[in-house]
Amino acid sequence: MKAFTIPTPVRYGINTALLILFLIAGNAITQSGLLGRAQNAIIIQVGFFIILAVSLNLVTGYLGQLPLGHAGFMAVGAYAGALFWRAHILPETLSIVVGLLLAGVVAALFGILIGVPALRLRGDYLAIITLGFGEIIRVVLTNLDSITYGARGLLNIPRHSSFLVVYICVIISCAVIHTLMKSRHGRAILSIRENEIAAESCGVKTTYYKVMAFAVSAFFAGIAGALFAGNLGILVPANFDFMTSINILMIVVLGGLGSMFGSVVAAAVLTFLPFVLQPLADYRMIIYSLMLIIVMIFKPSGLMGSYDFSLSRILEKVIGKALSLGRDKGGKNHGKA
């Protein structure tokens, strides 16, 4: 029996409709004043953590490398975006778009800059070089007093990170990384994770794809950085220390290396959790780090594994089952999960 499939255009239609519905609902809730300032800020925060996690997942989950300087790319993007927005040289809407793009492009350039040398090295060395890069960025930002105002903080950043802006950025970054991974380029990236030597023997330019994945990952980290700046209104280099990189890594690992859905869920849960569990605030990091260790020991693929959520696949299953049930009324398939 041929499995039931939803035609591609219909699938796209359903997804788009849902996204728009979600957008309208979210926008209405955040605008209505039902939620306090703090709650709104958390929703925004979930947004840029999703972007950060999904972009890190590209390099860690799909490419199989472990960069420890994701906060560095975020920092570069944050300062680039914030400085541009502070200059107020364009009308607001245009300024937001250009600022975000600028943040992404600058971060991507840094991604290539660090990626080219770092990717010549394997595994642990790559981790340490990116870690070093993150630290260098922080030191430079602290000391470039005349531009960044160093540790005193860059103030008066226009608060451009509305729900709408963040939401659109989240959708774009998830969509881009998803479509990228479902193409020949994505398969090339996966093949490098699986077996680099075999990938090369199949004619996959491994260095090119590593740098490309790095650059795309950095691009979105930069955009997330700019959203971070536009949310807080103030930036200090200490926002982007090693712990920030580790926090993002934690989201990716707990969500499941190589699962975009896992990254999204984990970003939301780990951002919300501290606010829900106020009484446990003192233990938060202890619990997180213990979770990290335990997950690695017992379920190294992360909580979601490499499971990827697909609404249309679920719909297909449900409809397919309904159809087959309708056909043989005995309902023999009932027991099958």
């Binding site: 881009v176 479509t179 990228l180 193409s183 020949r184 380029h185 994505g186 398969r187 090339a188 996966l190 093949s191 699986e194 077996n195 030597i197 075999a198 990938a199 090369e200 023997s201 199949c202 004619g203 996959v204 330019k205 491994t206 490309m212 490499s306």
Partner: protein
């Protein structure tokens, strides 16, 4: 053996090839102070099936690594269709027409069978990054073509129905076959098979032999294989090279190799060669 002519063809009676597909001239590599391969010369015609045999550690896989540029040779050169591969890396060697399988299987285990073949087809698909992300018509068209091509290739080994299975979950023999399909997907001119029959039972080996010959005929490509299964080597190879301690000690047709006392000595050791050579012939 006297002085070898470096251009001497692998298979004497196939001398007719005016334009050999692959030539190795005095190929050699040292690891540290150790000479792993030395003075390796072969010439292969565009549609030959050739074999490399020799005891374990003789340097057979090292030669594959030299040919596919996993290692850069210390001495000598490899020519593909007359072009020196000196400045190539693994990727360029593949694009120039060399594809291989690995002795210790190197599949993309967490990807599906079809995806493994699609990675092999990577360079035969041309849509760019932007076209992929924005899902241009070219993306859909080329993906569709590539997928049907992948299934076609899988059909060689009758694997078209398991395209959605994880490559790592396949039984051992099927993994070896999938590696061959993946290598074929890169549209090679020379296919290098590193112990394709290892771990297969006699029936599977029999089938593999037929399939290798089929590939050779259908795709019109040269095949160079490393194998310990003498039945397979003697059965399908037109030319055989025997390697011992990194040196080619004999080359010729299966019949010639079976008669060669040096070969028997390399396999069985000195002293026994006289009494055992008859037995080796019939193997």
């Amino acid at each position: 053996m006297g002085k070898r002519d470096p251009k001497a063809p692998f298979v004497p009676h196939r001398d007719a090839y005016k334009a050999p597909i692959m030539e190795c001239v005095n190929l050699g590599i040292d690891f540290g102070g150790l000479t792993a391969v030395n003075d390796f010369c072969i010439t292969i015609g565009p549609t030959e099936i050739c074999g490399l045999i020799g005891p374990n550690g003789a340097g057979k896989t090292t030669i594959f690594n030299l040919l596919t540029k996993v290692y850069q040779p210390t001495r000598g050169s490899v020519y593909l269709q007359g072009i020196d591969t000196k400045d190539m890396n693994s990727v360029k060697a593949n694009k120039a027409g060399l594809a291989r399988t690995f002795q210790n299987i190197r599949l993309f285990k967490n990807m599906t069978v079809a995806e493994n073949v699609l990675v092999g087809l990577h360079n035969s698909i041309s849509y760019g990054l932007g076209e992929a992300i924005l899902r241009f018509p070219s993306y859909w068209r080329e993906e569709r073509i590539a997928r049907s091509r992948a299934l076609e290739l899988l059909e060689i080994f009758d694997m078209q129905d398991i395209g959605d299975q994880k490559a790592g979950s396949l039984p051992y023999g099927a993994q070896r076959r999938l590696e061959i399909v993946r290598a074929l997907a890169t549209a090679p001119k020379v296919l290098l098979l590193d112990e394709p029959a290892a771990g297969m039972n006699p029936a599977e080996t029999e089938e593999l032999m037929e399939n290798i010959q089929k590939i050779n005929k259908v795709f019109k490509i040269a095949i160079l294989l490393i194998e310990h299964d003498m039945k397979l080597v003697m059965g399908i190879c037109e030319g055989i090279g025997v390697l011992n301690y990194g040196r080619l000690i004999a080359k010729g047709t299966p019949a010639e190799i079976q008669r060669n006392p040096l070969v028997v000595e390399a396999y069985l050791g000195k002293g026994q060669s006289d009494s055992e050579s008859g037995g080796e012939d019939s193997a």
